[in-house]
């Protein structure tokens, strides 16, 4: 069975470590916040100028001056702090953010990512995605392995305009966990009940399979 969006987020949450400063993108990445292991302190950064982002406000308490980068109303946790956009990207560009999780339309087997523009269809802009992928030490892409019509999104080369080049090291899809090395997509784990052949068929880029591939588990050890 392919993973649900929640399960992709849950698997990514296993990569968190105590004390991490983490920037979560819009979509599946946002869900990672729901799976921070108990007892672990992870501080969420939102690039519009917030460290220590908390959950959505309780009904009736939303504050228009307190939003996240997706323009959603949020809250701040004790110890959190506000700052301006230049300071925010100093944190990002300066390598002070430990982990970035973001979505993508396509990823190539050399670590290129396309996530911001579909020519002729969507011209919304890159927001902070280019800054994040160019600077982050540790980036995980959360995405579906194939498009709705079954085409692979893990490619030899991206077809859409790029967000960054040679910057992605790890991907969690609905089918697998993969690492990108000089050899291509290295298959690390597969979704429960999903065969290596299924992953092969869904991956257009170079796929490296070494030995037995374990199934994804969700509990942090």
């Amino acid at each position: 069975m392919a993973l649900t969006k929640e399960q992709i987020a849950q698997r990514i949450a296993k990569e968190l470590q105590d004390g991490y400063y983490v920037n979560l993108g819009i979509g599946i990445p946002t869900l990672v916040a729901n799976y921070i292991p108990e007892g672990m302190e992870v501080i969420l950064q939102s690039e519009n100028g917030l460290l220590g982002m908390g959950p959505f406000p309780k009904k009736g308490t939303a504050d228009p001056d307190l939003i996240n980068a997706g323009k959603q109303t949020v809250t701040i946790l004790p110890g959190g702090v506000f700052f301006d956009s230049a300071t925010s990207f100093a944190m990002i560009r300066g390598g002070h953010v430990d982990l970035t999780v973001l979505g993508a339309f396509e990823v190539s087997d050399t670590g290129d990512i396309a996530s911001w523009k579909i020519p002729g269809k969507m011209v919304k802009g890159m927001g902070g995605a280019m800054d994040l992928v160019a600077a982050a030490k540790n980036i995980i892409v959360a995405m579906q392995h194939t498009s709705k019509d079954g085409k692979s999104k893990l490619l030899k080369a991206c077809t859409l305009p790029l967000t960054g080049v040679k910057c992605i090291k790890k991907i969690v899809t609905d089918l697998a966990v993969l690492e990108i090395t000089n050899e291509g997509f290295v298959l690390l784990e597969r979704a429960p009940g999903v065969s290596v052949d299924q992953i092969k068929n869904a991956t257009e880029g170079r796929l490296v399979i070494k030995g037995e591939i374990p199934e994804i588990t969700f509990t942090t050890s």
Binding site: S46, P57, K58, D65, F89, M126, V165
Partner: protein, 229 residues
């Protein structure tokens, strides 16, 4: 020294056709609502607007777009605005998209007297077209140029008669770096107090950067995405 003006209409005096404006805010959070409305009541046109976003159809910079007062936008994210997309597809509007951190830094650098700088963001993408590339510490970087505006228009929570500003929560965003980068900087604030009434240890933008200040009225503070639990 008198930086205090009566209202938005007085504050925007001198903004002329073809000028470059910076407008603070992120989405609709912390935008200078009063000055934007005042601009819609003038015939000023062909503006270049530097702003992270372009408002929504009927609020924020969307109002200036609807009036066709903007010729060019320099932004990082312009979704949520159908009129914007229509003008763009019909060639009525020019758009330069910048990575968000690059945009913020271009404003900061403009205010700080740094004409250009290198950043890694955008290398290998269409943002890099025509830009000098140089390697530092084994990594390619793009040369980006500073931005300075004829007028920077920002919104703060509290301000004093010397132009010192304090922002509320995430409404600091682009307001602070832009406040430093205007040839003339206008600040509209929710509460204007006499100099000496704000704690000097808690000022976000020192008054030296601000030329005109006024207390705004009727803040709508529209929420773009209301999310509750």
């Amino acid at each position: 020294m008198n930086k205090v003006v009566a209202n938005a209409t007085e504050a925007i005096e001198g903004i002329k056709d073809g000028m470059t404006l910076m407008l603070g805010g992120f989405g609709l959070c912390g935008i200078p609502e009063n000055c934007i409305k005042a601009l819609t009541q003038t015939p000023v046109k062909d503006l270049t607007c530097i702003s992270n976003n372009a408002g929504v159809d009927d609020f924020g910079l969307g109002l200036l777009l609807r009036n066709k007062q903007i010729r060019k936008m320099i932004s990082s994210y312009v979704g949520e605005n159908a009129e914007f997309e229509r003008q763009l597809l019909h060639g009525e509007l020019e758009v330069e998209l910048n990575p968000q951190g690059t945009l913020a830094e271009r404003c900061r650098a403009g205010g700080a007297g740094i004409p250009a700088f290198f950043v890694p963001a955008g290398y290998g993408t269409e943002v890099a077209i025509g830009k000098e590339v140089r390697e530092f510490n084994g990594k390619p970087h793009l040369l980006e140029h500073a931005l300075v505006a004829d007028f920077a228009i920002v919104k703060a929570w509290k301000g004093d008669t010397h132009g010192n500003l304090i922002y509320k929560e995430t409404a600091a965003n682009f307001n602070h770096p832009m406040a430093t980068a205007g040839k003339i900087t206008i600040a509209e604030v929710e509460e204007l107090v006499p100099a000496g009434h704000l704690n000097p240890m808690q000022i976000h933008t020192p008054g030296i950067f601000v030329n005109r200040i006024f207390q705004g009225v009727d803040y709508e503070k529209r929420i773009e995405q209301l999310t509750e639990r």
